[in-house]
Amino acid sequence: MAPEVYHIAQTPIIAHAFNADRSALAVSLNSNEAQILARSGKEWATIETLSEHDKVITSIDWAPNSNRIVTASQDRNAYVWQQTPDDTGKVIWKPTLVLLRINRAATHVRWSPNEDKFAVASGARAIAICSFDPENNWWVSKLLKKPIRSTVLSVDWHPNNVLLAAGSADSQARVFSAYIKEVDSKPAATVWGSKLPFNTICSEYRSPAGGWVHGVAFSPSGDLLAFTSHDSSLNIVYPGSNVVHNVRMPSLPLVSLVWTTEDTIIAAGHDCQPFVFNGTEGGWQEAGTLDDQSGGASGGPARRGGLAARSGAFAAFQAADSRGLGGSSGSSGSGDTKLTTVHQNTITDVRIYDGAPGQVARVSTSGVDGSLAIWDVNAVSAITGRLGGMSMR
């Protein structure tokens, strides 16, 4: 099944989040305002703009049950948005302040499964765990600091609402306890540990070739952890036996990932297409891609096999080199630089679109090309001509 593709903007989509029934979508279009879009026919149209931040919004999350949006920004702030009637009775999204207490950009934000707290990753080598303080009507935070050595790039919650995974630019993925006395009841023991006061470090994993950890995700059961790093690899951790499987990619690094079942992961990034991985404790491998590469360029040199995602630009340079066809002279049209993939640039965010945890049926991706795509996770096609593809002839 071909993916649903929407061209949302001419600017990069930094992050996206759907509401519970998928009728509305919040996006950050590389600006200080978040757009709320609603489906209108076959397109998405802006119905409201959330403006309170001063700098680029880096991450958005939409809590499905409480219908609250949280945004994090480079301006070192986060806001929780809630639908409230204004003076005239019109329902608008109203922001509530979050006291983050960080002195660098906020990079990533995620609601906990119970939606009673959220985690904000930041460049201040800290993660703020925020919970609501009804007395003052604002969100207060407690900081996870040690032993983070650099910017935290991503966070993901364990289903038990207490454990938090974080990926950092110090090339480590860690599992912390984000237990907040006022919010959480005492958690049951998991494979990650049993006594879990705030800021317990349950485990630390270094990416094999020292790449920054871009994305982290717990498996649906919470018993496994996966992380992608800038050394073009995907790593899957089995904490019980302390085995870490490393899948080396021949292509560019992956930045975002989701688990669709307990033994399948979909990850995407700089290679512009969502890859599928599967495996068990015995081993993991690349199973294919969701992008059958028929949706991008239609004809022209870019369609010849080869290194699919880059062959468009490659072919353009090759033509310029061997036949003296210059791009600027106008002899080669704009189609020549089109990629064969659906996304025409890096994919920034992969999220679950349809299905319960562990039985995900569809995922959504947003990219630097300003488009959003919704993919059927079972439409896996083999990766063709990529391994030996970058030949000169």
């Binding site: 080598r125 050595r149 650099s150 110090d170 090339s171 270094r206 070739a209 020292g210 790449g211 920054w212 790093s229 800038h230 050394d231 073009s232 690899s233 080396r248 990619m249 021949p250 292509s251 560019l252 690094p253 290194l307 990529r386 391994l387 030996g388 593809g389 970058m390 030949s391 000169m392």
Partner: protein
């Protein structure tokens, strides 16, 4: 005006400064041991080459190479050893040789190729030989191999 304060290394007073040792584990072998091993490998590689066993020779030198600071001498000998192999391999054989290397060895080979390209004129470095290997290695191991070379702080 007093300007000496400009020369103060303020990072030395920053308790939160990020050190190299936070990012990777140093080579567990000391300089002496690393040098010793590099020399032994050099001899072993020579005998492998005499038997015309290029894959064996490459695997030897690419396995557990000296990396990080303090082992410069061992690094230089390893590079020299590797260059002997690269320079004596026929260009038609390169693809098959690269294919029979382990993924770890492929990544390490890429590191040495980039190191070599960064030191033109040093020892027996020949730009065209390195580029030939680079092309064939990229065909086999993909651009991911290049990305790993660039991110890995355990430089050879």
């Amino acid at each position: 005006m007093e300007v000496n304060f400009r020369k103060i290394d303020i990072d030395a007073f920053d308790e939160e400064v990020l050190r190299e040792s936070d990012l990777y584990e140093e080579d567990p072998r000391g300089p002496a041991q690393a040098l010793d091993e590099a020399k032994q490998k050099q001899t072993a590689v020579r005998s492998s080459l005499a038997r015309n066993d290029i894959v064996g020779a490459l695997s030897l030198v690419l396995d557990n190479p000296p990396y990080g600071p303090h082992v410069e001498e061992a690094k230089n000998i390893s590079l020299q050893t590797l260059l002997t192999i690269l320079n004596t391999t026929k260009s038609t054989e390169i693809t098959n040789v690269v294919k029979s290397l382990s993924p770890d060895a492929q990544d390490t080979l890429m590191k040495y190729l980039y190191k070599g390209m960064g030191m033109p004129g040093w020892g027996d470095i020949s730009g065209s030989v390195l580029l030939g290997w680079h092309e064939k290695l990229t065909e086999v191991a993909g651009t991911g191999c290049i990305v790993r070379t660039m991110t890995d702080r355990r430089t050879v």
